[in-house]
Each structure stands twice: as C-alpha cells, then as structure tokens.
Amino acid sequence: MKYADEYRDKEIALGLAKTIRAETHLERPYRFMEFCGGHTHAISRYGLEDMLPNNLRMIHGPGCPVCVLPAGRIDMAIRLAERSEIILCVYGDLMRVPGSQGASLLKAKARGADIRMVYSTIDAIRIAEENPEREVVFFAIGFETTTPPTAVMIRLAEKKRLSNFSVFCNHVLTPPAMQNILESPDIRSIGRVEIDGFVGPAHVSTIIGTAPYEFFAEEFGKPVVISGFEPLDMMQAILMLVRQVNENRHEVENQYSRAVTRDGNLRAKEEVSDIFELRDQFEWRGLGQVPYSGLKLKRAYAKYDAEVRFGMNELRVDDNPACECGAILRGVKKPVDCKLFGTVCTPETPMGSCMVSSEGACAAHWTYGRFRDHQQRRAS
C-alpha cells in the first residue's frame, strides 16, 4: 500500500530497535508519554513494546477525545436526542461511550431517539437540508484536528442560511491537558511518575504546529518529539527522545516533518479562532476539570450553539470511585493495577476513560497486549 507500507518496513524497524537498544543506558529508566491515542493504538497494534529495551517504558496518556469525554456530556447529548424534534448526528465511535448508569447513545437510539451515525461534518449539513422541519444537531468532538472541519461546517450552514442546524461543541485542546498531567493538584494524592519526554501528536500539530509545545520543553525541561502514527514514525521518534535524554537536551523536535511545520495551518487556525473561544473550565474523564482546555462557540454564533439554542444544562456525573483512570493516564499505575480492569471493566462494558475507546490505554492493553501480563507472571 503506497504511503503506508513504506512506514512499516520490518528490516528498518529491526535496525531502529537495535539502535535504540544500543543507545539507551542500562543504568537509567526512560519514561516517555505518548499523549495521543493514535500513538497508543499504533504501539499496541504493531507490538512495538516487544521491540523496546526493558528500561524504556511508554506511558499511555489521555489523548483520545472519545475517551476523555465525561459521562455528563454523554447524558446531555442523550437528553437532547430524546427530544422528538431533534436529529442528533454523531461519529460512530461515540455511540458506545457510557453515560451515567450504563446509558449510551446506542441504547438511546434503540429506545427510539433519532441518532444518526455520520462520517463527516458534510453529512450532518446534508441531513439538515433534507429535514427542514426537524432540528439537526451535530455532536462535535475532537482535538485541534477536528475543530477546523466544525468551523467550516458552521460557515457552510451560515452560507446556506440553514435555520435548523446547530453544534453541541465538545472540542478540547491538547496543550492544557499535557500541562495538567505535569502539574495538576491531583498529583499530590495519586502520586507522580517522572516523565522523561513526550511523543507529541502529529495530526494535532498539522493544525497548530510545533510551537505550542515549546512551552513544555522550556518550562518543564521535557523533550517533545512530534511523531507520525506509523510504527516506523514511532520508533524514530522514540530514538530521537532517547538521544535528547542522553544529551540532556529538552527541545521540540519534529519527526513528522512531511506534514507538520512550526506554525501549522494558519488558515485553519484563523477559522477556528473566528468561531470558537476558550471555556474557563472543561471536564475531562479521568483528569477532572482542566482550565482553558475546551472550546465553545463565540456569542456571534450562538444560534449555531446547541447548548444555547436548546438551553442545555451542564450535567456532572462522578466517575466510579474504584476506577484508576486518573493514575493510569498519568503513568502512575498500569491497567492491570486497576481492580476493575478485565473484571467489570472491559471494552464491552467500559467503566473508565481508559477503556472507553479502542485508543484508550486500558482498551489497547486489553485488546492487543494482555498476553504479556501472563508471560510476565509466568517468568516471575
């Protein structure tokens, strides 16, 4: 497959793995957090863990927009979808995300709510045009990568003078969440694992560039390497991080130079800043309230804001107290350290954020890697 196989070459991978092993110092640990769920997925799906030295550990961060969506926001969407005049358009992987008391959009759909799975923002616009007598709400979610398409859709709705279209905005930002992981007050109660560097998200950086991560390199002294999602990208990014650590450097480096620049996509950033503004707080499943980490529509676009248009009230639902997601997302614990993992919490019945989408740390470990737990148990 052109442009994919090239990044999955076994020989090059084995060469990179050999170099990583040769350059890591045995006497010290290397702990790198991949923030993005796409990276977690790649590590698990291609079995990269098996190719890395034992003293190099990848910590799976919170970076999956579906995982981190709090149950309260799902409840809000369900309440909205239960109104007879509303068609709620959502991306497929949101359908199974649990709200409170086991509710989900999939179950709400089965009970009769008009919820339609869409594959692009344009589908939602089309549905609004085809159903002028109904109210069509698009469940917007995602990091900086999926925010520009939502902005474009609002522009399109404006241009088409669609009066029955609005957006339930759940867009979130990566840098504030990274900062939360490093300095949240929660660290005092759940402990802290030293992080020696970050693998930075590629798709997000195609929009915002590498510059926003310079803060982490400078203020926190953490190396950041922006990496693509192919397994060779990951291996190369890990090697770049190892070298920065060895040389005591902390810089932002760009492994994904084929698509990412320092400044990112200026036009997309402009569109986003025209239409959206920061929320003071936004709740992340597993991380709690994170200041200035979410976006909402500016007042000028209030008629496209479903929260305003339908008077939606913020709903808060506490996570299961036995769930260890907060500690797992920060690398303090591993999925198997949580007593819910694989017992009541599985991909079919997710309890916490790490199990909610296939890209979460627990789901990825359950789906692709849990054989290693048994191997380790046998070895010890």
Binding site: M1, A4, R8, K10, A13, L14, A17, G38, S44, R45, Y46, G47, L48, E49, D50, M51, P65, V66, Y91, G92, D93, L94, M95, R96, L106, M117, V118, Y119, D123, I141, G142, F143, T145, T146, H203, P231, T346, P347, E348, S357, S358, E359, A363, W366, T367, Y368, G369, R370, F371, H374
Partner: protein
C-alpha cells in the same frame, strides 16, 4: 399461467400487501417469479413441503437469516449471498449440501424487477453449487416494517460416515489454513453503504465453497480437524471461538495472512482491522500438520483457493489467546471485535 387473470408486471410493478395474503396474487408471485427462477421438480409439485431422498451418511442441517444493506453490492446481492452462506455452513461440516429452503419477508412497495433479479441470482447460485431450493415461504409486511427484503434460509446436506468436523477438534500443533484474501465482502458492502460511499474495485468474495471443500477432503481426509467460514466478526472471531471450544491458543504470522491492497487501504482509512471484517467466500481450516501441505496444495489448485495460505498454528494456552507476530516484528493479541465495528473519528 392461465389460472391468473393477468401477468405480473415485472418491469414496472411492485409487491403489495395482496402478495402476502395467501390468495391468487400470492400464488401468482410464487409461481411467476420464484418458481421460474429456482425451477426444479420438487417446487413444480406445488406442495407446502418437499420430500426428498437422502444418501448414506449423517444429515447436516443449518439455518440463517439475511438482512444485508444494501441489497445489491459489487459481486452479488442478498439472494446469491443467502444461497452461498447456507451452502457454506453445510460444507464446513465436510458435507455435501443438497437442498435449501428460502423464506422471504418483503416490504410493501418492493419492486418486482429487483425481486426477480434477486430470485434469479439465487437460482443461478444454487445451480452452480449443485443444490436445489425445494421449499419456501413468502410474507409481505407494511411499508417501513422491513428494510426492503429479508431472506431466511435453511439447508440440509449429508456428511459421510466417520467424518466428524467440529469446533472442539483443534489440537496443539495443528496448522491454520485460510483459503484466500480477507475482508473483501465487508469492504465491498461498506463501499456502497449510505454515507460511506467510497470508490474501490473490491468486489464481494461471496461464493459457494462446497466444491473447494470436496477437493480438500480428498487431499486431507480425516486429517482435517475442522472448517469454518469466517463471516461476521471475520477471522478474529472465528479463531477466538475455536480456541475456546478446543481449549487451545493460536499463533499467527501477520505476514502470511493474505489481504488485498484495496481492502487494506479501505480498512486503514476507516480505522478497521481486516481480521474483523466479514467474508462470504473464504474458509479457515484447522488441519493436522502431516496433511497441511497436501490440503494447501489442493486449495491452491482450486479457483476459490488460489491465494490460500498457511497462517499459523494451534498452541497450548490456558487463556485461549489468539496471538500474532506482526509483520513489523512485534507481538499482539487478535481479539474478538468489541460491539459493532465503528470508524474512529481521528
């Protein structure tokens, strides 16, 4: 046809509630459309059931329902799929499929022309698989109560005495053979789904596998432990089921698993795993290591097994894991699919 006042207007007409009422209209539909397409001596007798002879051996019976959307897809339609699926379920027992039944639940307003095309492709699929559709049923439901057309089938066949393929038969050391490329059917269907139309030359692999199975049985005999067609849930679900039922694990080699580049690309785009995607013309065979070479050669000598491959082996594993050495050099589990396959947002 003289018994009916007017002929079915196949080109412009459509099914209405009278075609399920048990009256003349229904008889006309059955006779003028289904009997024409399936044409055989059993149906021609016009009974509510059909009596048939069975040769020596044990009977095999299966039943299945088809609710596919869209009804027409590259490489087939719901009718040919219904025949292939039922024939294959019988063939996976190492049996010779003989007779099928077909039950139609039709939504009011369904076009005769489409129904005729579907019935004709069922007839054609049955003839080329060497089976007969010898009894059936027709129901019509009000508009909105079915997605166009649902088909239920049942099938019977005969398996030779002493031949007993079953999901608990896999043994440690057995080889895992697959008859060809994975995921073709699922991707062909997805490429035509509303909201997901994308351009691909991939056509469904829907096919009757009984002739391929017959060749495999000659080559491998009782060294064939079991066979399964990896339909919904794909290869992953099939091997996980067998692992549980046979109390073994599996080790697969990703590099050995055949997947067409177009299927791999579509799955990549949608965030799906080809190992979870449905097939309708492929089989997995678990065979004793000493016959694996002969069975594989027999598969490759058949048009439906040209791309057959030996993709791994059964291993001792209390946890029943299906593990895979990735083509990249690492290891992973091949797990059941969780819920429905849903594309990721990013």
């Amino acid at each position: 046809m003289k018994a009916y006042q007017r002929k079915l207007d196949i080109r412009n007409g459509c099914v209405d509630l009278s075609h399920g009422s048990g009256g003349r209209a229904m008889a006309q539909l059955i006779s003028g459309l289904f009997h024409e397409a399936f044409g055989n001596e059993w149906l021609a007798r016009g009974n509510d059931q059909s009596a048939f002879d069975v040769g020596a051996g044990r009977m095999v019976m299966t039943t299945d329902g088809y609710v596919v959307s869209p009804l027409f897809f590259p490489g087939g339609n719901i009718g040919s799929l219904a025949v292939h699926g039922t024939v294959n379920d019988i063939a996976m027992a190492g049996a010779k499929p003989l007779y099928l039944s077909a039950s139609f639940i039709i939504e009011e307003g369904f076009r005769f022309a489409d129904l005729k095309t579907i019935a004709e492709s069922m007839g054609e699929a049955a003839r080329s698989a060497g089976v007969h559709i010898i009894t059936g049923d027709t129901k019509v439901v009000e508009r909105g109560k079915a997605d166009g057309l649902f088909i239920s089938t049942a099938g019977v066949g005969v398996v030779p005495d002493g031949f007993d393929l079953s999901a608990e038969n896999a043994r440690v050391g057995d080889r895992v053979l697959i008859s060809g490329t994975l995921g073709d059917h699922g991707v062909a269907i997805m490429s035509k789904r509303q909201n997901l139309a994308f351009e691909t030359e991939i056509v469904s692999d829907s096919a009757a596998l009984n002739d391929l199975v017959a060749k495999m049985v000659v080559a491998g005999g009782r060294g064939i432990r079991l066979m399964r067609d990896p339909t919904r849930g794909g290869l992953a679900a099939t091997l996980n089921e067998i692992a549980l039922q046979s109390d073994v694990g599996f080790h697969l080699q990703e590099e050995a698993i055949p997947v067409k580049p177009g299927v791999a690309a579509a799955c990549e785009l949608l965030g799906l795993d080809p190992l979870h995607v449905a097939n309708e013309g492929k089989l997995v065979a678990i065979v004793a290591p000493e016959v694996a070479g002969a069975v594989l050669a027999a598969m490759r000598g058949h048009p439906l097994g040209r791309d057959a491959a030996d993709i791994g082996e059964a291993v001792a594993d209390d946890h029943h894991f299906v593990q895979m050495a990735t083509s990249f050099g690492g290891g992973r589990i091949v797990d059941w699919l969780s819920g429905e396959q849903l594309p990721r947002i990013c």
